[in-house]
């Protein structure tokens, strides 16, 4: 029987590797199918493969990929042998496949650490099999309602996932009343991280995803808001309030269109200056969570702070392309909170720009596109003549066009494109830089088109 189960594990790993190789030979990425094959042959394979690997799990609504790339650089710079689920394979199938690819046929992992980004709905399944050392929760925002349900449901799922991980230290966002409340419902040790100062000079108007106290349903009072429902909250009724972060951003010296300069302050009083090589207030949070996980893992804080200035951003996450002398920046959008932060960033820049939004409604994008009405697109009017055009494409391009019309963009500025080729062609036929905001499957499709046509890296490379 023991021999049989060993053979079963070997067969599953072999099948997974073979399926992945097969896909690559066909010139395709994808880890879902190989993972599915492996799990069919051996349903508890992930538990077996992850057994002796120190695992860091990253979950939450926004910022998972960018935070993971920052942590990855910190691992590299700290000389740690690791692997990461880099291609965004963040469901149970994809994570299993990643472990297979980094193990030999006997199920022994070639690395000491695994850095795993986990979809917040799949988190509870993944954590059943993986005994995580650290769990980072980035934030909890209203997301694709059709897929994740209400925010409290997402929070519940994360809590269940944590309950499978008794040995994990939690890195929680102190500024997010929802995320921070996990410290009360989970017995694990916690390292809170947060931003002690406001991050934007002016912000978009946005609806708060959590205006009422998670404990007693009384309205919160805020000393300051960084964005969304994040900031220095307290409940005047029951006293629930922002916990004091052990790792905090204590000052933001500069934050512009390319990067931010921050000072981190640890509980011990030590401070570290850092350059974060991605713009946007939300990346300040991602950087702070990376510093927190570094401290949990016992990495040298100065090294981790240095890593923030040289990590490589994930595909489509503020990724820049230069094509025939034209600058394109691709920023993945998934939900109102994330999209509003992109607008905060764009309105804060100073050069002319064309704005392109690619809206798909596949399962991974969210089949319900109503969320575009919760985004404060009206804000782009503040850019005035700097906004030289608004392009829309994707399966729901027409809905996006209507949204921009009702935001007050003159109809003659709105152009609808039916495919990637015509969209990119139009981008290259005008002089200004283009900021493209695609949803997930639109990003993969556009990224694939750019790779094929202009020779950029494929997402699995």
């Amino acid at each position: 029987m023991r021999l049989m189960s060993k053979l079963r594990v070997m067969a599953a790993i072999f099948a997974c590797k073979a399926a992945r190789l097969g896909l690559r030979l066909l010139g395709r990425g994808g880890t879902d199918f190989p993972g599915r094959v492996a799990l069919k042959l051996c349903p508890d394979l992930l538990g077996i493969l992850a057994k002796n690997v120190t695992t860091i799990l990253v979950t939450g609504t926004n910022g998972k990929t960018t935070t993971s790339r920052m942590i990855e650089q910190a691992l590299v710079d700290s000389g740690i042998s690791y692997f990461a689920n880099k291609s965004g394979a963040n469901l149970l199938t994809g994570v299993t496949a990643e472990f297979c690819m980094h193990s030999n046929l006997f199920g022994r992992c070639r690395h000491d650490y695994a850095l795993i980004e986990s979809d917040e709905a799949a988190f509870k399944a993944i954590s059943t099999y993986v005994d995580a050392k650290a769990i980072v929760v980035t934030n909890v925002f209203r997301d694709q309602l059709d897929r994740y349900g209400e925010v409290t449901h997402t929070l519940e799922n994360i809590q269940i996932g944590i309950s499978h991980s008794p040995n994990a230290t939690l890195c929680l966002n102190a500024d997010d009343s929802l995320c921070a409340s996990l410290a009360e419902s989970c017995p694990n040790p916690v390292c809170f991280y947060g931003v002690n100062v406001s991050v934007y000079a002016t912000r978009v108007q946005e609806v708060s995803d959590a205006p009422y106290c998670i404990r007693c349903k009384h309205e919160y009072v805020y000393d300051y808001v960084t964005y969304g429902h994040l900031g220095g909250y307290r409940c005047p009724n029951c006293g629930y309030s922002r916990p004091k972060p052990q790792v905090a951003v204590s000052a933001i010296a500069r934050s512009d269109a390319d990067s931010s300069e921050l000072t981190f302050r640890f509980e011990s009083g030590e401070t570290y200056d850092a350059l974060v090589n991605l713009p946007g207030g939300y990346n300040i949070y991602n950087a702070c969570s990376c510093m927190a996980v570094g401290s949990v893992l016992g990495l040298d804080p100065a090294t981790v702070a240095g890593s923030l200035g040289r990590f490589e951003c994930g595909f489509g996450r503020m990724e820049q392309f230069e094509i025939e002398g034209h600058k394109l920046r691709m920023i993945l959008i998934k939900n109102p909170a994330g999209c509003n932060q992109v607008l905060n960033f764009l309105v804060g820049t100073s050069s002319p720009v064309v704005f392109a939004a690619c809206l798909n409604d596949g399962a991974q994008d969210g089949t319900d596109v109503s969320w575009i009405w919760d985004v404060d697109f009206e804000r782009i009017l503040d850019m005035g003549d700097r906004l030289t055009g608004v392009y829309v494409s994707g399966r729901r391009a027409d809905d996006m066009a209507v949204r921009f019309k009702y935001a007050g963009v003159p109809v003659e500025k709105i152009r609808v494109f039916r495919d990637n080729a015509s969209l990119i062609d139009a981008c290259l036929k005008q002089p200004e830089p283009v900021c493209i905001m695609p949803t997930y499957t639109a990003m993969l499709s556009l990224r694939g088109y750019l790779s094929k046509t202009y020779g950029f890296k494929q997402f699995w490379e």
Binding site: L145, E150, T367, V402
Partner: protein, 241 residues
């Protein structure tokens, strides 16, 4: 001419783009040179229905919807019932639609009493009705309306109200009797949340005309260029046909 819109509980009932409906109504008035004010009335604020011509109630998350029950019982429910009977125009979506009814009974048998302005009730089921859907409104010249539904409640209409439309594709009120939404006096209610009105401009104008007629005795709405709106509507209609 001015239309005064009351947005009830905008900070609580704002699930997934519901505010798009208010933006749509306001823009379509302004484009025709009609003034429009939008006033939010939320928890703890008093409501005087005489101050408004049109009321909008969106949907909410269960967690936040509970916050409202005490507030409604403290006077707003009675004010809303009187306003409905007085012929004021209402647009209620999803959770707001359910709240106009008599009660909501959860799948495990707990009953929660609502405003009781409309002769209908809702029962929760564990399986949600989720997806793009389409219905036809016989009262609005056979208009087809496209939208997105996402609800676990199943709403059943009493004899005192009629449906807003007949389901062509999707679940509608309860997934069984092919009715969608409700009409009563000048109340329009639907399960289609978020962007119901922007890509159903004929329905938006029907609601505006109803409210203007009630307040000014007549309403001539000049036609608008609705090509983008119609394209979005037609694209979804083609998918669901």
């Amino acid at each position: 001419m001015e239309l005064r819109i009351c947005h009830l509980y905008p900070d609580v009932l704002n699930l997934y783009g519901d505010r798009g409906n208010v933006m749509c109504l306001k823009n379509r008035l302004n484009w025709r040179g009609i003034d429009c004010t939008v006033t939010g009335v939320s928890v703890g604020q008093s409501l005087n229905a005489d101050d408004y011509d049109l009321f909008f109630i969106g949907g909410g998350q269960d967690f936040e919807q509970e916050v409202l029950l005490d507030d409604l019982a403290g006077g707003k429910a009675a004010e809303i019932r009187a306003a409905v009977e007085d012929g004021k125009t209402f647009l209620a979506i999803c959770g707001g639609y359910q709240m106009l009814g008599a009660y909501y009974k959860t799948w495990d048998g707990q009953q929660c009493d609502f405003i009781g302005a409309l002769d209908l009730y809702t029962e929760g089921e564990q399986e949600r009705l989720i997806g793009n859907f389409m219905f036809q409104c016989p009262d609005i010249g056979g208009l087809t309306v496209v939208g997105f539904e996402n609800h676990s409640g199943r709403t059943y209409l009493g004899s005192g109200v009629r449906p807003l439309g007949t389901v062509l594709s999707g679940g509608g009120n309860n997934g069984r009797d092919r009715t969608e939404g409700a009409r009563y006096l000048n109340v329009f209610a639907s399960y289609s949340h978020g962007c119901l009105l922007p890509k159903n401009p004929v329905l938006a104008d029907k609601i505006l005309a109803t409210a203007l007629e009630r307040s000014y005795g007549e309403a001539e709405l000049a036609p608008l260029d609705d090509r983008l709106e119609q394209a979005a509507h037609d694209a979804m209609e083609r998918r669901l046909r």
